[in-house]
Symmetry: C2
Amino acid sequence: MSLGSSAVPVSAPGLTPASSGAAAAAPGPQISHHRLDNGMEVVVIPDHRAPVVTHMVWYRNGSADDPLGKSGIAHFLEHLMFKGTRNHPQGAFSEIVAELGGQENAFTSNDYTAYYQRVPKEHLRVMMGFEADRMTNLVLTDEIVAPERDVVLEERRMRTDGDPGSQLSEAVHAALYTHHPYGKPIIGWQHEIESLSREDALAYYERFYTPENAILIVAGDVEAQEVLALARETYGAIPARGEAPQRRRPREPGPRAHRIVTLADGKVEQPTHQRVYLVPSYRTGAPGEAEALEIAAHLIGGGPTSLLYRKLVMEERVAVSAGAYYYGTALDDSAFYTWTVPAPGVTLEQLDAKVEALIAGMGRAPVAGEDLARAKMRLVADAVYAQDNQSSLARWYGAALTTGETVEAVRTWADRIDAASGADVQAAMAKWLTRKRCVTGYLTPEDAQDDAQAES
Amino acid sequence: MSLGSSAVPVSAPGLTPASSGAAAAAPGPQISHHRLDNGMEVVVIPDHRAPVVTHMVWYRNGSADDPLGKSGIAHFLEHLMFKGTRNHPQGAFSEIVAELGGQENAFTSNDYTAYYQRVPKEHLRVMMGFEADRMTNLVLTDEIVAPERDVVLEERRMRTDGDPGSQLSEAVHAALYTHHPYGKPIIGWQHEIESLSREDALAYYERFYTPENAILIVAGDVEAQEVLALARETYGAIPARGEAPQRRRPREPGPRAHRIVTLADGKVEQPTHQRVYLVPSYRTGAPGEAEALEIAAHLIGGGPTSLLYRKLVMEERVAVSAGAYYYGTALDDSAFYTWTVPAPGVTLEQLDAKVEALIAGMGRAPVAGEDLARAKMRLVADAVYAQDNQSSLARWYGAALTTGETVEAVRTWADRIDAASGADVQAAMAKWLTRKRCVTGYLTPEDAQDDAQAES
């Protein structure tokens, strides 16, 4: 039986979430976008190179929509969606996918939860039938819920409690988002996972697993009319609920104080330094601002020609690794990451001062024309390349549509990147990448200052 | 017109909230504790030295009960409670208190909201009549609510936005409480105050301003039976709602990473250093634990004989001031504070390392018998002295009863302090005052590292 695995994005330096802002450079495939009578959206992305389809259903709810005190419920329900329904016993769906030689998975992020299968195209209708079935017919008993909760708790123990880097990431995000729920871990806080009940899961399921809240994305060797006809037969049979569920999230106040979070643990073999800045997302930024931050991330830490790598790793040799990443695909204000790994003998505090000076300098100096052109070319080339992967492309549209963007915005992304001027990029860095907006994270081996007292 | 002022406790180093754990050393006055038929509690504290009474009504709701996205509503409603009712025009209540030569005030804390008047004893019934009236008959129109919201916003601007120390305190608390609502400022986040509406205020008022949620405390030249008779005539006429409102708060996860919050601002004239530890309260601690922390605060930073003062101010001369405080009167896990002000030429980082070493040392070494005896004697003596003040005593009972303690617990507080052993105090310091559980706060003048970019 295949359990849904949870994508925990934006956590560790170096991790590149699939929901990057990169997207299709026009002219791309002829993407169609429809809505069924019950409110469910349907996006079809034709790709005729192989006789397969990627079938995904995305829900506009993620961990940031977990009710207060119920952190982890979005991810827990993702697990429970692999249990039986009124029509199919537990495991039947996964068995059929396996028998057909297909793949399946599921993931929970801050802003969305999604399920997908990749199968030979003639089995698309079967996938739709099963997926539509579990949108409304899930059966949850205490006998099902309790052991699965233990599975999730074990997952948390393995991923977080055994990994100082994950613990630091949790603490850094909690410090960055003092009020907004992006500060909660996607998998949930342990003591709250422990209290998640069958009733909690059912209430959450009934609130969010509705056609009005779902987006069907099919990429592959199919045509829009064919997909729409199948969707009407399967998903279209689910009654509308009347309106889409509301997401109610508080807004993060503007940060005023620089914060440093230090995690010291004997299991740490390689100290690391990170900086995380609170910045706008594609949805919350002014026009062009997210695009400028995307370019800024590339200039600051996108590969061996980037500022941090060139200065810290190659010239000064104070770091052995350095990078930056902008997580722009988010419903609310999001984060800009930099990370460095010190060379032997260099302290994290020394690295932090150097990173601060380099980034502050970027906000004061004009962006060189050749650097800007190279960054844009690389970003767009990456997008074109990624577009070549059927499921990557499907994931970009899913992530965009569940975070308040449109099909058109994704299609024109490359044009907007191209339109950004050096002054735009400099202004974005000067405005957003300031010391007050950022949390510095230090991951170090146990040090003398740290006591080994038992913690409750 | 007298506006309610808001007590914002536990914010600034050096501020001693009125809701200290100190209390009546037995034998104290004969305190009676009753409940009216509608659920309202009545506590009477006789004090016949002068012909006056302190009349207080406490509600079991504070800023930590503000609904998500509505921070500041508890405090805002405290302001609005000074507006008119169906029976009395705006200002009538305050005018009568003034005419009688009395005093009045109100305050909002994390866990409670309270209103009080101090008047000649013969006017107690009039106070009860007005206070009972505004428990149910408040009239709120947009014409009343909108200008008062501007008053609160101006209050926030004056207290917080103009004061770097308050800004640091907000950021430190937001870092300490990453999940629990004690991390929100009592006055609220500005952008959420701006959105508080008449409907929000009325919904909050109807939820919490009920007899089941209220505690009447009368201290002064009165007897219990007399107060009870008047309470039945006034408050007793308010219909019961059926049950007390629930407080729903998430629990803070155990901290794992040390955090440093730095606020640099040109308006800072005196740098300060603080450390705030997440620790149990009287309500959440194991038996004796809060009492041990109370003694620990005295040993670490309670006056000129305390560890921090003696070592840092007198011996090493690296600080010009130092102290500690335990905020034990809280419904949920609370905070233990230390603060120091550096001598000229000493950096905050240097002070922090010294404070860390001193406190860690306290957890490893036995408490000297004479130090323990002196700390206990001083704490109990302070309590006996404070008990001499009618309204202080009334406030202790109000704060205790609204944070889950009992009249009996307050009465036996001195005995429990006396019962704490040196081993108890050492164990509490070793367990709770660890680096991982704490947030370090630095308040500094604008420094070279800090940029002066405009922040959104």
